[in-house]
Amino acid sequence: MSQTVQYTEVERHAEPKGFVNRWIFSTDHKVIGIQYLILAVVAAFTGMALSMLMRIRLVWPDRSYAFLETLFPVGAPDGVMTPEFYLAILTMHGTIMVFMVLTTAPQGGFGNYFLPIQIGAPDMAFPRLNMLAFWLTLLSFLTLMAAFFVQGGAPGSGWTAYPPLSALREATTAGIGQDLWLVSISIFCIATMLSALNFIVTTLEMRTEGMALMRMPLTVWGWFTTAVIGLLAFGVLLAGGILLLMDRNLDTSFFIPGGLVVSDRLIDREGGSPLLWQHLFWFFGHPEVYIAILPGMGIISHVLATFSRKPVFGYRAMVYAMMAIASLGFVVWGHHMFVSGMSPYSAVAFSVLTMAIAVPSAIKTFNWIGTMWGGRLRLDSPMLYAIGFVSIFVAGGITGLFLGQPALDMYFHDTYFVVGHFHLIMGVAAVLSMFAGLTFWFPKMFGRFMNEPLNKLHFWLTMFGVYGVFGPMHFLGTLGHPRRYADITGVNYLAERGSAELHYFITIAAMILITAQFIFLANLLWSLFAGKKAPENNPWEATSLEWTIPSPPPYDNFAGRVPVVRRGAYDYSVPGSAKDFLMQHEPDEMTQEPATRDVR
């Protein structure tokens, strides 16, 4: 009995009829996953366009662009971007990238598509909830975009929206834009919590026979821990967002202290604390960093093992490291507030905890290199993106050693050093993991490969681009260049030390980087229709369950016959085996299985 592949018969569901039911208001996790990915791509290109405008404004502040005047008559009168407009696009860039790209694509996109298949489930536990979560996310995105086109334009208080700047209408030129921002974020919080609940229940309840927790692919562990974090963190942001909305519209004073005077006018509020918002925001905000990167960590582990033809080095350590990151992630938020005016004594505790959370990240890095060590690497594009991820992850993570020490953070806080740091570790690393995931799973999702030479070109341009953009930002930071400056001539000490040249270099590098992303987009669209056909179910010779079914996967994934899982997810190059991979449902060729079936 143990020498043949076994299946569990499960109930089948009828495929919905009609275009709308199948592709738009669909409850199929794969369609919803693709919808999340489309949203993320649209959002990513929007956010990227905004970043290009920022780079242009910093280097050529006086240049006029006719299209800007057409699009944003208030923000760019005569086509020249005003400082307020710079802050508005800065705020929107951060918000779009953090929420609509880094939170949606890795989890809502890839997680939705592949978590059920990888654990052998026909769909998510709550398909309708899943659909609701996506449509709420889309509503949130549209609400956010609307902020550009209302009176006063998009808010300029940064993606962190610190009050009193974000709370007092008197203090900024933005009006209802800030309210739309808050409504958008609140909707997003609800959507993400619904989705997180779905992921948790699906992982715990829907695994096929034999899929013990410690046999799950690390991708599933990444999505699962991310969902736990999301469920706990987004509720706090939701509460904060509602309180701030009330401060703006119902004359409450949660975040507004007494005795404020804006432009010589006394504000009739009292009793609130600006620090309260920072605590609420960063209690969400720091775990959010891990929400963005943990699914990526899972994907990278998965891809590295597959293309090294070697088991993941220290699978258990990888799982425990994810758990450590998820739990420690909730007690380090204070490192965003070392210079906020909170008690300097608490900074010591936050500093030690912050340095402690660097340990599981280091464990993961060493285990990734350990996975490659002694392997037989196939340098296909998913693997290149994964290698790039490790390189960037180290580069972005190591500067955290400076920022985690309050004494050193005093200098670097709110300078370009921080901008360079978090873009590498949270933005670029997460995006590289998505490139790895997309190129890896593209043949499964669409039955075709992406164009390999174009992927490689894109990879190398991206690597040069990101180091060229975010590397020099660290040097701007050592010069003491504050971030969020609409004009780089505001202080003399920067101009004297060559900051303008660095900014110029960064803008050129950003242009190359952005051009490279259009190559990727073109490749993606072209490959959807004309890419090389993927030959069979398992072109990469991978082990997890999604490679047991046709490409693209049918409705219900396993057509009613879910394979019984016999082994962990990374049995590559098992000694004595005829081929260099054993899929999770394949029986052992050499040893006799015990008579009793594996139980969860």
Binding site: L87, G156, Y162, L165, A171, G259, V261, D264, L266, P274, S308, P311, Y315, S340, G341, P344, S351, M355, A356, A358, V359, A362, I363, F366, N367, I369, M372, G375, R376, L377, L379, L384, I387, S391, V394, A395, I398, T399, L401, F402, A407, M410, Y411, H413, D414, W460, F475, L476, L479, R484, Y485, A486, I488, G490, V491, Y493, G498, Y570, Y572, S573
Partner: protein
């Protein structure tokens, strides 16, 4: 491909690290003992993180080069090694937390004493720095050495009373409100940091310290500048559309020049 990948990874790593070390973009001059102490911790952290960074990138590139598909042997079936896991877990923990504790004294010196109003230099100069959208206001106690009471109702920028000091009060009549932060060299300074409207941040790169000006709270910073010169205070917390131009100058002067300056300013007030 493997060789190319490895070489580019190494080159990019060096391109990030070498300019930080050799390039012209180092820290500005340090003008307090505390700033120099922080710089020494910066150097320690830079060396340590630079070594970890280079070793990791080198190992990554080496793995790509050494274990590429070209080699004949099959991949080894290694699922992990608990000794190595223990090694880099405990090693990382000791290293990172040790690093954090190494800079603890600098942090304590920067913030603890002022926070708990501990006894400082009895002769120290106390200056109130009041931030408002896009302007820094410095208040000196004036000849009588005491700050007068303030009231937000009295704030009137056009009348030169940006902090709302009560001019009818005997202690408030001689308070100086000026746009420059003048300090005598070699004497301890205590900055009392306030904000009238939104968050701002007091940052002088040469001092290496930074603190938010939070409306409703008083922040305190102590330092002793030991080099004369003119430095800039750059707002480092987003405060609105004029954030980028919210700066003021900090003049560190010889004590005699500082006394003369104080007398001159008092004359302007009358």
């Amino acid at each position: 491909m493997a060789l190319f990948t490895a070489i580019v990874i190494w080159l990019l790593a060096l391109a990030l690290l070498l300019p930080a070390w050799l390039g012209p973009w180092g820290f500005p001059e340090a003008i307090t003992p505390l700033a120099r102490q922080i710089d020494s911790r910066m150097t320690l952290t830079f060396i340590l993180s630079g070594v970890i960074f280079l070793l990791s990138q080198f190992a990554l590139g080496y793995a790509v080069l050494r274990f590429s598909r070209k080699r004949e042997e099959a991949a080894s079936y290694v699922t992990g090694n608990d000794r190595w896991e223990m090694l880099w877990t405990t090693g990382g923990l000791a290293l990172f937390i040790g690093l954090s504790l190494a800079s603890y004294s600098a942090w304590a010196e920067a913030r603890f004493d002022a926070e708990r109003h501990a006894e400082g230099d009895p002769n120290r100069l106390i200056v109130e720095v009041v931030a408002q959208q896009f302007v820094w206001n410095m208040r000196y106690a004036g000849p009588n050495g005491e700050f007068g009471p303030t009231d937000p109702q009295l704030i009137d920028d056009s009348m030169g009373n940006a902090v709302g000091v009560d001019r009818s009060h005997p202690m408030g009549a001689d308070d100086l409100i000026v746009p420059r932060l003048a300090l005598p060299v070699g004497r301890q300074v205590e900055i009392v940091l306030k904000s009238k409207d939104v968050l701002h941040n007091f940052f002088v790169p040469e001092l290496r310290i930074k603190l938010d000006a939070v409306p409703g709270l008083e922040g305190r910073l102590r330092f002793t500048p030991d080099k004369t010169g003119t430095y800039e205070i750059a707002c480092s917390e987003l405060c609105g559309l004029g954030h980028y131009r919210m700066r003021a100058f900090m003049d560190v002067m010889e004590p005699a020049a500082f006394e003369t300056w104080l007398v001159e300013q008092a004359q302007y007030l009358q």
